[in-house]
């Protein structure tokens, strides 16, 4: 049997048909244009792998002139933004744990006096090193910074103090992840990323599938309430979410030896709120999407800023303000702070409840939109 000859007319017919279909599916077309634009904006403008202006607290126990010089030099470096003054070590550690600041610069008591005596007094920099990428460059710049800082102060008779090792000693305490192991940051974060992707996608598909296959008409002709359908559809996936969390936690512990300082049950409670938020997004998407493909595209459209702007792939603090503002609206951003906070910093409810509340608010809004848009009829 001979295969029919390649026909240009048939070939053209297929092309024309594809174009017509592409034009009909406005959303898909919009996404095809929108996704590259989004990527351009995010990668081009939002992402910065050399984060600057990191929030820093200062703890000054010595008010001599040389301490001030050093602080001024640090502030001028553009890596550090002094956002608060703390007066005790405890306050400093709380600020680090909550994630309010990335660094605490500590000028110890008698700093000026010891400097003049030539004792090489320490400048203590405590860093929240959960994400080594966020702190690396800033810490790296400190050494040369300090050497240069006092050059003006130590002139003439004091010049000898500059010495060979420099006039002061830089002591860096990298908290929470002292060895700067990237996995410690990535693996817990992955939990949030995986949940975001699968939970939204799966609920989106579960509901649009009914519509696409025509079974929605059957379902709606039965005496049901929207809550029964929506919650009933969601529950199995919450279970799936917990299976994913368990797998990631086991891998984090046994494979990557990620420290688990805080309470795992607390984390599991936070996971519930986070899963709910994502399922709510899925429901909302499914009420907007006409078919499964559209639901998938919407998921992707949401997922992209989620991984790029949440602080998962790139340091949150390195982004411009507008990108941080967008990031603050995403549940993943807050969940990452929670999961890293609990596992690496040992945070308790005290430190995470604000983040948790923000996810809950997001979930409530998304759910309200989704339920409102979920029609009990076909029109």
């Amino acid at each position: 049997m001979k295969a029919p000859r390649f026909s240009f007319a048939r070939f053209k017919a297929i092309i024309v048909k594809e174009f017509i279909q592409m034009r009909r599916d406005r959303l898909t077309f919009g996404m095809m244009v929108g996704i590259p634009l989004l990527q351009l904006v995010l990668f081009g403008f939002a992402i910065n792998s050399d984060p600057k202006h990191l929030p820093t607290a200062v703890l000054v126990a010595d008010h001599g002139p040389h301490g001030r010089t050093i602080l001024q030099a640090i502030r001028n470096s553009s890596y550090f933004d002094f956002v608060s003054q703390v007066t005790t070590e405890t306050q400093a550690h709380e600020a680090l744990a909550r994630g309010d600041v990335q660094f605490v610069v500590n000028v110890p008591e008698n700093f000026s006096r010891e400097l003049l005596r030539g004792d090489r007094p320490p400048i203590l920099v405590e860093a929240d090193a959960t994400d080594p990428a966020a702190t690396g460059n800033a810490l790296g710049s400190l050494g040369t910074l300090l050497d240069g800082a006092l050059q003006n102060d130590l002139k003439g008779p004091l010049a000898f103090l500059s010495g060979t090792n420099g006039p002061v000693e830089l002591r860096v305490h990298a908290h929470y992840n002292p060895e700067n192991i990237t996995q410690y940051n990535i693996v817990p974060g992955l939990m949030g990323v995986v949940l975001t992707m699968t939970m939204i996608l799966i609920t989106g598909l579960a509901i649009t599938r009914e519509r696409e296959r025509g079974t929605m008409e059957n379902l709606l002709s039965m005496p049901t309430r929207p809550a029964e359908v929506l919650v009933g559809k969601i529950i199995p996936y919450i279970l799936v979410g917990y299976i994913q969390v368990t797998l990631i936690l086991l891998a984090a512990h046994f494979l990557f030896h990620v420290p688990m300082v805080g309470s795992v049950p607390l984390l599991l409670i936070a996971v519930f709120v986070f899963i709910t938020a994502n399922l709510a997004v899925g429901i909302t998407f499914s009420s907007l999407a006409a078919n499964q493909l559209q639901a998938m595209q919407m998921t992707f459209f949401f997922f992209l800023p989620s991984i790029l702007l949440s602080g998962f792939m790139f340091p949150f603090r390195g982004m411009p303000h507008w990108a941080q503002a967008v990031g603050e609206c995403l549940p993943l951003t807050h969940f990452l702070r929670i999961v890293r906070g609990i596992l690496l910093k040992g945070n308790g409810l005290q430190e995470i409840y604000i983040q948790l509340a923000e996810i809950a608010v997001f979930a409530a809004i998304a759910l309200a939109i989704g339920v409102k848009r979920y029609h009990q009829t076909l029109d």
């Binding site: 025509g214 079974t215 929605m216 008409e217 059957n218 005496p223 049901t224 076909l378 029109d379």
Partner: protein
């Protein structure tokens, strides 16, 4: 019981943008009655049925279904109505028994297991109950859908082309079952395009271009059309049909197997028109018009006549 109305709606209207899919339709169906719902494609049958069971919100109209308000009590109506969709709408990735079981649960059927079991028996699908619904042949899907919408013992059945693609034997069994159930007091509204099925209905409602055209028993419907029909037997019927069409008084000439039906509303004109064709070759006889003659006649009525 028979005087009670299972469906009593009036002025039902549904618009989709510019298009009025159902235009002020009034319909009464008595309890225990089988009402055939006829009309050409796109005339609004499915849309009307969807409004009755609360799947579409009417833009206008009011009335009751099983004594309950069609607008406000659609939840209560859903509980007592069985709706069979025109397109297969069961879960293709569930097996037959899983589908039936799911439906039974949704309606809170008592003795669910027995109900599902009986339903399978009646379908004759007990052996294949584990088969996925998506793998059933078209006709069997249809039969499964029927069984499923009967499982909660509804009082009113809205069936949208329930026998499309079903073989003649199964169709006959299906109609016997329907008459049996109607005898027990169930009410049926059945959309169909089959004339033999229409003839099995107690009453017919015919809609055309979104409006209800006639409503009555088969005889009444035929009567109302005031159609005269001649039956022709003999050779070359196709040629006869072509020549006779378009002559004054001949409104339609349709082949029925080896016979030709020539019909018109004006008996005298029709007789004149056919006179030249009444040759020895062909056997002409005046017959009672059938339902199909009447329907084709109605479908071909010009637009202004319908909207008048």
């Amino acid at each position: 019981m028979n005087t009670e109305l299972a469906i009593d709606v009036c002025g039902m209207t549904k618009r989709f943008g510019q298009l009025t899919a159902v235009d002020h339709i009034d319909l009464q169906v008595r309890a225990g009655e089988i009402c055939g719902f006829l009309g050409p494609n796109g005339s609004g049958k499915t849309t009307f049925i969807r409004m009755l069971c609360g799947l579409l919100r009417p833009d206008d109209g009011s009335g009751t279904c099983l004594g309950k308000d069609v607008i406000r009590d659609s939840e209560a109506i859903k509980r007592e109505v069985g709706y069979m969709t025109q397109r297969f709408s069961f879960w293709e990735d569930l097996s037959i028994v899983e589908n039936l079981d799911f439906i039974a649960r949704m309606y809170d059927v008592k003795n669910r297991r027995d109900a599902v079991h009986q339903s399978l028996e009646r379908l004759g699908l007990t052996e294949r109950r584990k088969q996925l619904a998506g793998q059933l042949s078209g006709g069997w899907k249809q039969r499964l859908a029927l069984a499923a919408c009967l499982i909660h013992n509804p009082k009113l059945l809205l069936l949208d082309e329930p026998t499309a693609g079903v073989d003649p034997k199964a169709r006959r069994e299906f109609w016997e079952e329907i008459h049996h159930l109607a005898g027990e007091g169930l009410t049926f509204l059945i959309a169909t395009h089959y004339m033999d099925e229409a003839e099995r209905c107690h009453r017919l409602a015919f809609i055309l271009r979104s409006k209800l055209l006639v409503h009555g028993t088969v005889d009444e419907v035929i009567e109302q059309a005031r159609l005269t029909t001649w039956e022709v037997a003999g050779p070359n019927l196709l040629q006869v049909a072509e020549q006779i069409r378009g002559r004054a008084g001949v409104e339609q000439a349709t082949a029925f197997g080896n016979l030709l039906h020539v019909s018109g509303t004006n008996a005298a004109e029709l007789e004149q028109a056919i006179a030249p064709f009444r040759t020895e070759q062909h056997k002409w006889s005046q017959v009672e018009p059938g339902l199909e003659d009447v329907f084709i006649h109605m479908m071909e009525r010009p637009k202004q006549e319908v909207s008048a």
